[in-house]
């Protein structure tokens, strides 16, 4: 069930009606917990009627039907760990409890996400050094959202360990926090410290800004369904056969991928935040116009904020942060970005993506140090050129992020690895060399310009509040008209959100 599926609107209407009809806070939390598990199970069990009809025959059940149990097991573990840390008398015992949480959570994550990756990488390495290696892999499919909820539940254990948070007494509260459906599958990664205090207080409908929620949801819907889905075919075409396209087509594909991934993920985040606000809960901001960042450090303060701050607080600082020599700090930065890349998926192209961002962050630190005393003219020039350079670099890194192996349509054998695809794309995007004769019209560049302009208007808050000043009836009418226009731009077939795969 995607946020843009018609069935989701039926689901959320029922959820909201019952949620706000219930009086007690516990009843509401229990209701939302049940709804969250129904929402999550929907990704795995398929048609519920068919699923329950086949329940006796395990072989006929869909792959991964038991994944909601992994979510519940992760919740139970962190509940026990939290209680364990809270009740431990010595620091040693507290640390032991934390290690249990980290090892088990990361163990489960690594198994699902990286088992085959390490196996194939190891066999590739053995083959490379001339040792015999089999191609044995295990059929492991990735549960949606595991990277997100694992990080959330770990943040709870770590914060309890760091004495920033009291361990929760109610299992319901923790289960509700970890499985809260708007952010369960693709974030934002909400910290226990941010969310749990909200859980203990009954929400009040009077505090919900319904108009703002509807506007935010609508914007998220348009980003995902109307923009991301419509630029995706161009990206797929070029990344699917990079050897046949010209420089201009490669530029369109890379620029459109930057648009696609931003609109896809920030659209999801907008809809998640809006849905959550309708239920009375506040989630963390996840994007803040990242492509207008003046430099790469600022980009990471604006892009996937919940992940970047998580990595900063729980990984970078745990590694020592900048409490040492310059080289020590750079090592920590690089490690954080490499692991951040690996978090996205089991592929070397993600590691390279993280590495390139690590290099850029280190470069930017050095740049700031070297040019700290440069004149005002220089800084003014950089304030104009910085966003362009930064965006270009981010686009280069997106090439690695998007590059996937090209397979033979009939045999499934890999014709080009993801790295080879990325190399061909880079040849066009950086060295301006044609890979082939195919191209698009010039209209995509115009469209890109229009999208940038609209994004700029939004960033400058030109569209921020006018809808608050109009009467309720005209707001409803405009939302109806806007929805009618938006639906014309939703393709008949659409894909799941990109970040679901992570």
């Amino acid at each position: 069930m995607l946020f843009i599926d018609p069935i989701f609107f039926v689901f959320i209407a029922i959820v909201l009606t019952v949620h706000w009809t219930l009086r007690g806070n516990t009843a509401r939390k229990a209701w939302l917990l049940v709804c969250s598990h129904i929402f999550y199970a929907g990704f795995f069990i398929g048609n519920p009627f068919e699923f329950f009809a086949k329940l006796g025959d395990h072989a006929a059940l869909p792959d991964g039907w038991w994944f909601p149990c992994v979510l519940m097991a992760s919740t139970c573990l962190d509940y026990i760990v939290g209680r364990g840390i809270g009740g431990a008398q010595t620091d040693r015992k507290r640390r032991a409890w934390l290690i249990v949480s980290v090892v088990v959570n990361l163990g489960v994550l690594c198994f699902f996400k990286y088992f085959n990756f390490f196996l194939t990488s190891a066999s590739g390495f053995l083959a490379w050094i001339g040792l015999p290696a089999s191609d044995w892999t295990l059929k492991v499919i990735l549960p949606y959202g595991i990277s997100f909820y694992t990080f959330q539940s770990m943040s709870y254990s770590i914060d309890v360990y760091r004495r920033r948070l009291e361990p929760v007494r109610s299992f319901l509260d923790l289960a509700f926090f970890i499985s809260f459906f708007p952010q369960l599958v693709a974030g934002p990664i909400v910290r226990a410290m941010t969310f749990l205090p909200q859980v203990s207080v009954a929400r009040v409908w009077g505090n919900v800004d319904a108009r703002a929620c509807l506007v935010l949801f609508f914007i998220g819907f348009v980003k995902k369904a109307c923009v991301s889905e419509n630029v995706a075919p161009f990206v797929d075409d070029v990344f699917g056969a990079p050897g046949t396209f010209s420089v201009s087509a490669t530029f369109i594909a890379v620029l459109f991928y930057a648009v696609q991934i931003y609109c896809d993920f920030s659209g999801y985040s907008d809809m998640a935040i809006a849905t959550s606000r309708m239920l009375g809960y506040e989630l963390t901001l996840n994007f803040h116009f990242p492509y207008f960042a003046a430099h790469i450090t600022e980009f990471w303060r604006r892009w996937h904020i919940s992940l970047s701050t998580w990595l900063r607080d729980y990984l970078y600082i745990s590694l020592g942060g900048n409490r040492g020599s310059k080289l020590f700090t750079y090592r920590n930065l690089m490690l954080t970005m490499l692991l951040g890349g690996l978090w996205h998926g089991a592929s070397w192209t993600f590691v390279i993506w993280g590495g390139l961002h690590g290099i850029a962050l280190i470069f930017h630190r050095e740049w700031q140090r070297v040019f700290a005393s440069a004149g005002a003219g220089f800084h003014r020039a950089m304030s104009w050129l910085g966003p362009v350079f930064c965006f270009y670099w981010v686009c280069i890194t997106w090439i690695f992020f998007r590059a996937q192996p090209i397979r033979d349509a009939t045999t499934g054998a890999i014709e080009k690895t993801g790295f080879e695809v990325a190399t061909m794309m880079l040849k066009s995007f950086v060295l301006f060399q044609d890979n082939g004769p195919r191209s698009f019209t010039d209209w995509p560049f115009v469209l890109f310009g229009v999208l940038v302009f609209m994004h700029w208007l939004n960033a400058r808050q030109f569209l921020a509040t006018w809808w608050r000043r109009i009467p309720a009836w005209s707001f409803a009418a405009m939302l109806g008209a806007g929805t009618a226009v938006a639906l014309c731009f939703v393709p008949a077939k659409y894909k799941a959100f990109i970040y679901f795969q992570f």
């Binding site: 419509n230 009467p471 009836w473 009418a477 109806g480 008209a481 008949a492």
Partner: protein, 326 residues
């Protein structure tokens, strides 16, 4: 203002805007259908007869041979489209009638049951375009008759209602023109004239016969067809749909002729309805020659040799009918 009133305003605005948009937006581009209807619209006054139906018609009837063999100096067009079952085929037929083809006197309809099954691989434009109120209602009536469980019927009905709603809202209709603007035509490749355009709508299927394992399956299917017992009457939904369309064809000055094509499929066996011309050619006892495995490439489709024989039989029957009417 009360929330209920605001919801009503939202819905009214949504519906009103959709109605306005229907005047602005281009018609959807549907594989095979859009090309054929555009071509037919340009040549609508050239034809006396139209064959409308699924790939059984599309691959199985050569209109030029039909015209030659009938020997009546008439011209016919094959409006067969792969997978065109009722209710979609009736929608397509109504689009043809809406063009008011002046010479049209005979409409040959591939006589199949209404197929309410939905391919769950994903929604396509083709699934949506024919879901107007009339043809969605027709499908819902057929679903109500089905022997499936109530749960399955509700699921199927809600899927069709969803498609009806999407069509009403012009779901994705702007995407196509938008995409066409951004792309070059097939990246500069020359777009060929379809084969069917040179053959009055016909395109032959594979030339091979049924062999090997497929032959075993075909023989079993044929045995089932032989032992299926007497032909049941059409279901109420199909009967109503057929009578309605026959009446509309009559109003347009033409005659509807139902044709049960030679397919080894028990779902296409009905007793002829009263008052409508119906030709049964899917009986392996009465027309065994059409069921020879070497004349077809699968259970439902005739190969070019089979199509030649089928067309000849149809032309002979048409000629007889015309002579009898003189």
């Amino acid at each position: 203002m009360k929330p209920f009133a605001l919801v009503l305003i939202f819905i009214a605005s949504l519906a009103g805007s959709s109605a306005l948009l229907s005047r602005v937006l281009p018609p959807p581009s549907i594989p095979q259908f859009s090309e054929k209807i555009a071509w037919f619209a340009a040549h609508k006054d050239d034809y006396d007869a139209v064959f409308i139906g699924s790939s059984q018609f599309y691959r199985g009837i050569d209109p030029r041979q039909f015209d030659r063999d009938a020997g009546l100096g008439k011209r016919s067009f094959n409006f067969g489209i792969d997978g065109l079952w009722p209710a979609e085929s009736f929608f397509v037929l109504r689009q043809i009638l809406a063009l008011h083809p002046r010479r049209l006197r005979w409409v040959f309809i591939d006589w199949m049951d209404i197929d309410p099954r939905i391919d769950h691989a994903g929604t396509t434009r083709r699934m949506m375009y024919w879901h107007d109120t009339r043809h969605t209602t027709m499908t819902l009536q057929r679903i109500a008759e089905m022997p499936d469980s109530r749960v399955e019927k509700v699921q199927l009905a809600s899927a069709h209602l969803g498609l009806w709603m999407r069509r009403l809202m012009h779901h994705g209709l702007a995407v196509e023109s938008f995409e066409g603007k951004l792309r070059k035509n097939n990246y500069g490749r020359v777009v060929k004239i379809p084969v069917w355009a040179k053959q009055d709508g016909w395109k032959s299927g594979k030339s091979s016969g049924i062999e090997g394992e497929a032959l075993t399956h075909y023989s079993a299917q044929l045995d089932r067809l032989r032992s299926a017992g007497p032909r049941p009457p059409m279901g109420a939904a199909l009967e109503k749909a057929v009578r309605d369309i026959a009446a509309e064809i009559g109003t347009a000055g033409a005659t509807a002729i139902l044709i049960a094509s030679p397919a080894a499929d028990t779902r296409q066996r009905f007793a002829p309805p009263l008052g409508i011309e119906a030709w049964i050619l899917n009986d392996p006892e009465r027309n065994p020659e059409l069921f020879q495995p070497e004349l077809r490439y699968d259970n439902s489709h005739l190969n070019p040799r089979g199509a030649e024989l089928f067309t000849r039989l149809l032309a002979g029957r048409f000629s007889q009918m015309q002579n009898a009417n003189k």
